[in-house]
Symmetry: C2
Subunit: 195 residues, 2 copies
DNA sequence: CGCGAGACTCAGAAAATCTCAGTCTCGTTC
DNA sequence: GAACGAGACTGAGATTTTCTGAGTCTCGCG
C-alpha cells in the first residue's frame, strides 16, 4: 500500500485559502506571509496539473475542481486532528503521571504532590515503581528516581532538593522534557526542603 | 476553524514504518534512507509527547498509542489519495483536451489528431476556441493558437511546423507543460508538414 | 489620475530534511 | 564466547524546501 498525494504543506495552504477565499487571511491563520501561501498553492496546482483557484481582481474563487477538492481535504484534516487529539491530548493543562521509587518517596514531603496546590495541578497520579519501561509504554509520563539508571535516550534531569546534595533524577520522554508541567515539577523539587 | 496536527511528513514516515514494522522497509518505500525515517518518527514522537514504537532488538512494535493512531492516519491518507485521484487523475495515460483556434485548424492535417495513432493516444478531444479562460477553468488542458495572446502565467510554447515559418502557440497550465503528453503533441506539431 | 488592497515575483535567508559514515545492541553462528 | 550480520541510532554537513521582504502589477474606487 503506497499513497499518492501532493505536498502536505501545500494542502494546508490550499485548505486555509479556500476557507477564507483569501491568501492574505490564510497566511494570517497559518502564521506566515501571503507570499508563502501564494507559492504553496501555486506549487500544489502545478503538481496536480490543474488550477484550484481563479484569481479575479475582486478576490479568489474556487474552480470547479477546487470546490470538489476542498471538502475531502477538510475531512482528512479533521480525521488527523481528531486522531492526534485522541492519542496525544494537547499538553495544555494536562496532568502528568509520575512514578516514584521507594527512596524518593521517603525524601519527599508527606502527601506529595498534594501538599502543594500548585503541584497538584500538574500531577495526575503517582505510583511506586522504578521501571523505565512504563515510560516507553506511555503508561507513565515521568519517573522520579533516587539513583541513576540506564535510560536509553530518555531525558534525564538531576535535581538537588534544597540543602541536600543527593540528587533526584527526573526521567521523561524527550517530548515532555521541556513542557510547562515538567519545568514546574523540577522547580518545585529543587526547592523542597529535605525531610 | 484551525487544525492542530503534527508534521505531515512525520506522519508519512510513521504510517509507512507502522505498516512494515521496520524503518528500513519504510525508508525503501518512501525512497529515502533509514536514518531519515528514524529521525522523522522521533521528531513526531517528540512533538506528540508520546512514543509510538517500542524499539526491541527483534524489531519494532507499536505501542498502544501507536496502534491506536495508525488506523486513523491510514484512513486520512486514504481520503487524501482518493480525493487527489478524483480531482487530478494521475497523468499516466490520461489524454488531454485541446482547444484549437480557426486558423490553426486550417493549418493542421485533416482529421487531426486522429490522423496519427500516436497523437490520438494523447488527445482526448478538441474543440474550436481561443478562450484562455477555458484553461483556467480546467475545461481544457491546452490551447493551440495561430497568434500570440496575453495569457498571464500560463506556459507558452511556440512551434514552427516543418517548412513553415509561422509558429503555432501551445498554451497550457504550468503543471502540464512538461508532461509526456505535452511533449508528444509539441513534437508531433513540429514535424507536421504544412498543408 | 492617484490610492489602497491584495496577489504575484524574485533573490536571498532560514529552516527542515536527507545523506553519509560510523556506532550500538542484539541474536546468531561456529 | 568471539565474530558476524541486521537494523536502528546519531551527528555533521549537504541539500532541498519553505519563508521572508521588498518591490511590482492589476483592478476598483473616489
Amino acid at each position: 500500500m503506497t499513497y499518492r498525494f501532493p505536498s502536505l504543506n501545500g494542502l494546508k495552504a490550499f485548505e486555509a485559502a479556500a476557507r477564507h477565499l483569501s491568501f492574505k487571511a490564510a497566511a494570517a491563520e497559518l502564521g506566515v506571509t501571503a507570499g508563502a501561501v501564494s507559492q504553496q498553492v501555486k506549487r500544489l496546482e502545478m503538481s496536480l496539473g490543474i488550477s484550484l483557484f481563479r484569481r479575479l481582481p475582486q478576490g479568489l474563487l474556487l474552480t470547479r475542481e477546487g470546490a470538489a477538492y476542498l471538502p475531502d481535504i477538510s475531512r482528512a484534516f479533521d480525521v488527523l486532528t481528531d486522531a492526534t487529539e485522541a492519542v496525544a491530548p494537547a499538553l495544555n493543562g494536562r496532568k502528568l503521571s509520575i512514578g516514584l521509587d521507594r527512596l524518593v518517596v521517603e525524601r519527599l514531603p508527606k502527601g506529595w504532590p498534594r501538599h502543594s496546590t500548585e503541584l497538584e495541578s500538574y500531577v495526575r497520579d503517582t505510583r511506586i515503581t522504578d521501571e523505565i519501561e512504563l515510560i516507553w509504554n506511555n503508561e507513565l509520563d515521568a519517573l522520579l528516581l533516587a539513583r541513576q539508571t540506564r535510560h536509553g535516550s530518555l531525558s534525564e534531569n538531576a535535581v538537588c532538593p534544597n540543602g541536600n546534595s543527593e540528587p533526584i533524577y527526573f526521567i521523561t520522554r524527550p517530548g515532555l522534557a521541556e513542557c510547562r508541567q515538567s519545568r514546574a515539577i523540577i522547580e518545585a523539587l529543587a526547592s523542597e526542603s529535605a525531610e
